[in-house]
Amino acid sequence: MVDLSVAIGDLRLKNPIMPASGTFSEELAEVFDLERLGAHVTKTITRDWRDGNTLPRVCEVNGSMLNSIGIPSKGVGSFLEKVVPFYQRYATPLVVSISGNTEEEFATLCREVSVDGVDAIEVNISCPNIEEDGKAFAIRPSSTHKVMRALRAATDLPLWAKLTPNTGETSEVASAAEEGGADALVVANTILSMAIDIQTRKPKLGNLMGGLSGPSLKPIALRMAYQCARATKIPVIGCGGIATAEDVIEYLIAGASAVQVGTATFIHPTAMVTIIDELEAYLQAQGLSSVRDLIGTIVDDGQDEAVVFMEAAP
């Protein structure tokens, strides 16, 4: 028997596979047994009711997708009443994703969702900070640090900071999140992208731009996961383009302690279950007794990341 369990801080997960926020919901219980997963992660909510963005909200780009769903949210009340109880019937830990456009709003929501049945809070700091210039908190180390401190003060639950790839300062942002009190980093959200219909000359998304997810994102998010694992001491949860057990193994070797599967679930709703089974089979075949034996085992000859970054610039 191989051991698939991993620890994210004090939280023990029976396996390292969980859904990415916004690509998972109660409805998936109609397709497979959600108890198989390492954790449940809900779609980001905001405090109050929101509509979501203009349609079309998704499009295909070269074997990947763009989305600008926005955050259609029924508000925190409805969430606590309906969604949390649904997941309480499972033993699997529940991770709740939240966001806010100001520090205060964000912190208040963080306090409000710190209830029984919630095991960790994923703070989607890839959302815009309207108190500064509207850039996402996680674009800059300073705004990351500030918002994380406010969130840290608002809850005793584990705080997972979800980072954005739309930055040139991944390592610095990761450190800022750690110093601000994050218990783990989720790396990463989607990268801002665009597609245009050349017939109509309209953007393919109603919102002009949207986030790239799926296979095209993988090399970027994997690089970020590696940078974050090196820059901090807290666990990294890899996310971006994962579709197979091989992808998971790549992230674990890079230093991630667990992973989130997003878009792949749209293509294969049972993808996460398949991945768990294949991961177990892989460990068995490799004679490894625990999935933890893979984490951070990259053979990088201790190359210094900063230097590498410099030389990587073409």
Partner: protein, 282 residues
């Protein structure tokens, strides 16, 4: 590439789950006319037992002609036959996904996800059904006609198309005992005015207790007007671009009016079949 699995769900799970991801074998895939193809898949009994008229499957189109459609494509159930072990789709060539579907040949496997969504309902009082459809809308209404026949309801099927050559399923509706009225652009009979006249005649003749339609904005508006005028109910199957198909992503919403509230509902989840009077024309 992830291996396609024939039965991801262990035996016991067949009773628990509502929708399944399965790789089904293609029995046939033939052009119906220039634009439409009928795809017949071999499907297990437990899957077909769950299918209802108005529901859809989310199809993972294969790689073909150098194109790899990434997202799944939603397709209404055109027919499901537990005895024959068959699941039918009727599709129109539109873009990369449907072009890829057309490349499937007997023995190939197609990964399907379903059945999904809310089916049509036929309420007890609805003895005389009027089905109004154009183009591939006929695919969606076909299994409804079968169900209506099972329940012994009377039916009028108003089939509209660009040209008489593109009128599909007319024979099928007739076989099921429906009165069929055909309207075509080519013959100049498919205009809204004429359609209104035809429907008013049905109502006058006591042959319209409820309407079923799909897709077209123009027809929806007309039926809403007529419905309001006579206090007649109806259901509409709507289309919207989909990613997940099961309710997770919220990309497939449409606007509905319930009382004085405007709601955003997911076509894949709260639909694709909706109350005809609540749908907001677009």
């Amino acid at each position: 590439m992830m291996d396609l699995k024939e039965t991801p769900a262990p035996a016991g799970e067949k009773d628990v789950f509502k929708s399944f991801e399965l790789a089904l074998a293609v029995k046939s895939n033939d052009p119906v006319n220039g634009e439409y193809h009928r795809l017949v898949l071999e499907a297990p009994e437990y899957l077909l037992a769950r299918c209802q008229a108005g529901q859809f499957f989310h199809l993972l189109c294969p790689t073909a002609n150098g194109e790899t459609p990434y997202l799944r494509r939603p397709m209404s159930i055109y027919g499901f036959y537990p005895q024959k072990g068959e699941l039918h789709f009727l599709y129109k060539l539109a873009g990369a996904g449907t072009r890829a579907l057309a490349s499937l040949t007997q023995g190939d496997r197609l990964n399907v996800l379903g059945p999904l969504g809310v089916p049509f309902t036929i309420e007890d009082g609805w003895q005389n059904l009027v089905l109004v459809a154009r183009g591939v809308g006929l695919a969606t209404l076909a299994p409804l006609a079968l169900e209506a026949r099972r329940l012994g309801r009377k039916m009028t099927a108003i089939c509209s198309a660009r040209h008489p050559d593109y009128l599909m399923s007319v024979d099928y509706f007739r076989e099921l005992g429906a009165d069929v009225i055909t309207l075509t652009d080519a013959e100049g009979t498919s205009g809204v005015d004429n359609l209104e006249r035809v429907i008013e005649e049905l109502i006058a003749g006591g042959r319209a207790d409820a309407f079923y339609t799909c897709g077209s904005n123009r027809i929806l508006k007309l039926l809403q007007t007529i419905g309001a005028r006579h206090g007649l109910p109806g259901q509409i199957a709507l289309e919207q671009q989909m990613a997940c198909g099961i309710g997770m992503c919220h990309c497939c919403v449409r606007t509905f009016q319930r009382g004085d509230k405007l709601l955003q509902l997911r076509v894949c989840r709260e639909g694709p079949v909706f109350d005809m009077m609540e749908a907001v024309a677009w």
